[in-house]
């Protein structure tokens, strides 16, 4: 069967009941969606399927013939970050990073769908995405900033902060 993953046509050999998460990670080498619970309970595996955020761990690949799949790998690169990636960086919304891919894909679908910076609406859009590090505040800040159309200054470096190197905290 065939999928489009981040704009690339990919042929899939896994059986039809294989969860999309396993196809992406184990067959196609797309590692940003994470295995957190494989029960649809944590959100770490979320990818965008034909414009909608979906739990890839619960999605049998057999029903996805011809679908367009977007993952974090398609949002941007280190030298050319997408706006959601910029916002998560600027607002320190990623801590350990494990829930981040799923959070960002849900955020991307939210803003692409015309979501506003209303915090309750953002919380609703991210409901079911578990983060054990941040307490969620910075994540909601980041999504709200994208929805507002903020621009992000990512030029801050250790040197510009007055430190001689990343490790010099004297």
């Amino acid at each position: 069967m065939n999928l489009t993953v981040n704009g690339l046509a990919r042929e899939v050999e896994s059986g039809p009941l294989t969860p999309l998460l396993r196809v992406l990670r184990d067959e196609l080498g797309v590692h940003s969606p994470k295995v957190g619970c494989e029960q649809g309970g944590c959100g770490a595996c979320t990818v965008v399927v034909d414009g909608a955020p979906r739990r890839s761990c619960l999605l049998p690949v057999g029903g996805l013939e011809g679908a367009e799949i977007s993952t974090v790998e398609g949002l941007g690169t280190p030298d050319d970050l997408g706006v959601v990636q910029q916002a998560f960086t600027h607002h320190y919304a990623a801590q350990c990073g494990f829930c981040t891919s799923g959070m960002m894909m849900a955020a991307q679908a939210y803003v692409d769908g015309g979501g506003t910076d209303d915090r309750e609406a953002i919380q609703e859009a991210l409901a079911g995405h578990v983060c054990r590090c941040t307490g969620y505040v910075k994540i909601v800040d980041a999504v709200a900033a994208v929805a507002r159309g903020d621009s992000f200054d990512l030029t801050v470096t250790a040197a510009s902060a007055g430190m001689t190197s990343g490790g010099d905290l004297q």
Partner: protein
Amino acid sequence: MKAVGARLPRYDGVAHVTGRTVFVDDVRVPGTLTVKALRSPVHHAGISVDTSPAEQMKGVHAVVTHADVPLNVYGHLSGLGIPGDEPLLAEDDVRYKGQPIAIVAAEDEDTANEAVAAIKLDLDERPALFDLRKAFDPDAPKIHHWGNWYPHFENEMDRRQIRKGDIAWAFDHADVIVEGVYRPAAIEHVPLETQVCQVVPEPSGRLTIYSCTQALYFSMGVVAAHLQVPLNKLKLVGGTVGGGFGGKVDTATETMCSLAALKSGRPVKWRWTREEEFLCSSTRAPWHMEIADAVTKDGWILGRKMLTLHDAGAYARFSPYGLTKHSFHHTGAYTIPNLEFDGYVVFTNRVPTTAMRGFGVTSVSFATETHMSRIANVLGLDPIEIRLKNANRIGDTSPNGIVYSDPSTVATIQTIAEAIGHELPAAYRTTTSAKREGEWLPEHLVAQLGNPEDH
């Protein structure tokens, strides 16, 4: 202090937001076998195991039991000279539900699960103990070969004990005795990344171990001890942790995966399911804390008697260390000159407990702060003022005799009072952490502070 308040780049921030951070489960090595474990289905039992049905299955490359472990029984505190108590893989007894008995390395996940199911396990189930308060009852289930509480504190004492000052004097001179019991429950850390490990046997004879541990060099020592190999046979790759919070301090997977890699000669990976993470991974401990304080009508705490029971679960791991930290903090951020503390590390049939965000101290902070407010309620005094009165000051001594050189308690409490709009009398608004004198130096502290070296 250039970093404080500055916007600094996260060294791993861009990798996180581009999906390029390589967590252990993202490491891909061709030919990797899948590891699954046979775990105890009951809380407490004698066991006998027959792994031969699994060994004969097609696609199974290794079945590892205690018989394959060069040093099966080891303790997380063995490096400090404390005898080991926990088998890597269960031998004749299981003491908690989920305790690993055998592991299987197979071509794929389905085969590994089938092989685990094929292992014959006979159980002679025994009564289980879950309430740590009942561990001392004469008819309580016997959990551990050491007895129901840890016997190896200094001088082979069976408890962590602190004696400071003259506790009898304090209780003789108290206006009121304020008592309280505090019992925080176990908490699972729930990292989004479950326990996971990849081990690759190298042609050189070394093992490369990709680990999600929070304590890389500690884990290296634990693996080397169980395997009875020098450290230079192990290369650990780590530092990328998908959430730990203390739950990835214990060495959970690395040693067993190393044995499976050695026995099969193949790379292996073991990623716990979410169910395993909840049922079998270590938790924050349940605690039972009883406090009795000798206090004066005007809010000075003359003395504290405290009994702590720390639930270690089935094995000691780091619990004696956690209880020791707990004991050093059992007066909170306050100075109490006369102390009688007894703490026990108690064994139950729960999963072994471990660090979580302030190992041993979070529990006692909850108890001591709640107790401060309780004292204020009993005496009809202001809860902020009573804290400022007893707050640590320069020259005061901790329960374990450390002389405070720069305590921040007074300024912290004043800042909190201001932030919540809590009006304080001038004397409390302006008092500082300076060495005690005048009204901040009551008679009962004079003798103690005269010569802190005595404690």
